[in-house]
Assembly symmetry: C2
């Protein structure tokens, strides 16, 4: 007697050898990779969502997806709002960490469907980006590059990261990795989390851990303010004009979280007025950043197109996580990285 | 009875509080800081050499220096050639690490005068510069900055430093620190030294240590080639056209050593032809880099005006070293960082 198969649909581009690894997890799996319906990856680890242009393509997607029990990524945007109502669907493995708001917007938080995030996968490249930004600002890379364009050889003294104070808002897996690399260069690191109970600062590579509620009390100490918190109702607009004013004029903001965590007009005003020394932004309020945004041309701003988390090899790590979760799923064990619908991370 | 005093002349700009620390080492010291004859520091830790313009200023310097037993820095350039013949002079504390060639050029290697270098002081800022360069090249910072100037939001995938292969030529204190920070991000690090005997790779934060003689055998493995060797007759022109050709086209050269270690025309040719992915150069053959050098405008080159070693707070570290050496000197103990006139480092 043939065992009932479990349909998995891979809904964003994935390398053939990684699909084979998923297929190899268990013979019961019916892994569908609708290559012809998927966009072509523009770069490694491009999790481009399909966006079917004609009714036939949409119908094709629906017929492939409706029998699915498991999705790898959320699938075509026009169908996301329907997911919560599909009776077969049990579990969606996301390809990024910050999907809480997205899942809530489409009602998944009110459904029986489990979403697992890719939390952890992006911690290292994001920490490297934060470290690069800290070094670029501390060592005057923007001045260096401007001098180079002007063929100007003008010696100067840079800063060392040692004893600089780094504040990390929202010490989850990304924040912990930022703390680790900053500590490796002897920075002093203060972290915040929603709740500090039972989380020893040392385990998080922190010199100090404070509740995010008490953020205002530490802002004046910071040389670098790094945002790694999830976007939740509590963190929306967290870094507003008042909090930006609490930072030293020599401080630099590094946003690895979501654009909505920062009051962007207030940030622009502070940068333009010299009340803040710089910003490295991997995320902005509206993405892509509109061509007319003043952020593009501010001399003390580094813009990254939400790519700091995207690393060659990322798909391999997500596939590792997915295969491990598949095993757990098949064995009826709790999955890793389950999105908490109350906390939205 | 008054004890004979020991004259020390500080011959490059130093902060008053640091001079006070030197004075406080011992009452026998006669510490002279000829403020009016010294150039003004243009930036923190500017070790600008005095360059007396008129005969009176030169005479004033000579009268201050001739009775000196100890110099902090080498003093006015027009007088350096005389130092070896002054009978009182016993010891010069340099403010940089790479002074071997300079000392030899002025005959100090043939004199009884001891030179101590500032080796170790610059290890951290140089390692940070190397790390910044590795992250900037690995994570596509040049592309990011070009996209930003064009107001272009184009997502892409960067590299992680993990498992990248870093080669360090000349693992002294700087190279060891470069290795330490690269290993902190899980790079694989291969180092070279003149002699590997008795130097376990692990103590140097290396995965492998090879004699510099065998450099050619490792060049093809490297993603980053970092030069931290002294400039000696053996290392002059070490990175020539043949060795550059052994590197992968995706490799990046980071020169923290001296410009003379690299065949600069060959480097430029390799960069222009795309046979090398990039270069971060803190040192060049002729400094300041001539305005007409093609290096300024190559899109895959980062030029630093020999300032990567210069950090705010550097003078404090050099003063720590000098005060410790002063104690040793007064007690007749061996000094730290004595320049080896045979090896020239």
């Amino acid at each position: 007697m043939r065992q009932p198969s479990i349909r998995i649909v891979i809904t964003s581009p994935l390398e053939p050898e990684l699909i084979e690894r998923i297929v190899a997890v268990d013979p019961r799996l019916d892994v569908v990779y609708p290559r012809d319906l998927l966009p072509v990856a523009r770069y490694p680890a491009d999790h481009a969502a399909p966006n079917p242009r004609d009714p036939e393509a949409l119908a094709a997607w629906r017929s492939i997806l409706e029998p699915a029990e498991i999705l790898f990524d959320f699938g075509p945007r026009p169908l996301v709002a329907e997911l919560a109502s599909w009776p077969q669907l049990r579990w969606i493995q996301a390809t990024s960490a910050g999907v809480g708001q997205f899942a809530a917007r489409f009602g998944l938080d009110k459904s029986r469907i489990v979403v697992t995030t890719a939390s952890g996968v992006h911690a290292r490249p994001l920490a490297e980006f934060a470290l690069m930004a800290m070094l670029m600002f501390g060592k005057g890379a923007f001045r260096l590059l401007a001098d180079q364009r002007a063929h100007r050889w003008e010696r100067y003294a840079g800063e060392e990261l040692a004893a600089r104070v780094v504040g990390i808002v929202g010490v989850g897996r990304i924040g912990r990795e930022v703390a680790r690399v900053a500590r490796g260069l002897d920075a002093r690191v203060i972290g915040t989390t929603r709740s500090v109970a039972g989380r020893p600062a040392g385990d998080l590579f922190l010199d100090r851990l404070v509740p995010t509620d008490e953020l205002d009390a530490i802002l004046g100490e910071l040389d670098f303010l790094v945002l790694t918190c999830p976007h939740t109702p509590e963190t929306e607009g967290l870094i507003n004009a008042e909090r930006l004013a609490l930072l030293k004029p020599s401080a630099v903001l590094i946003n690895l979280a979501r654009g909505a965590v920062v009051d962007e007009p207030a940030l622009i005003a502070a940068l333009q007025a010299g009340r803040l020394a710089g910003a490295a932004l991997d995320v902005v309020a509206q993405e892509p950043l509109p061509a007319e945004s003043p952020l593009w041309d501010l001399p003390n701003v580094l813009i990254s197109p939400h790519s700091a988390s995207t690393a060659i090899g990322e798909n391999g790590k997500i596939t590792d996580l997915f295969c491990d979760n598949l095993q757990r799923y098949l064995e009826g064990c709790p999955l890793r990285n389950v999105l908490d619908y109350a906390l939205l991370y």
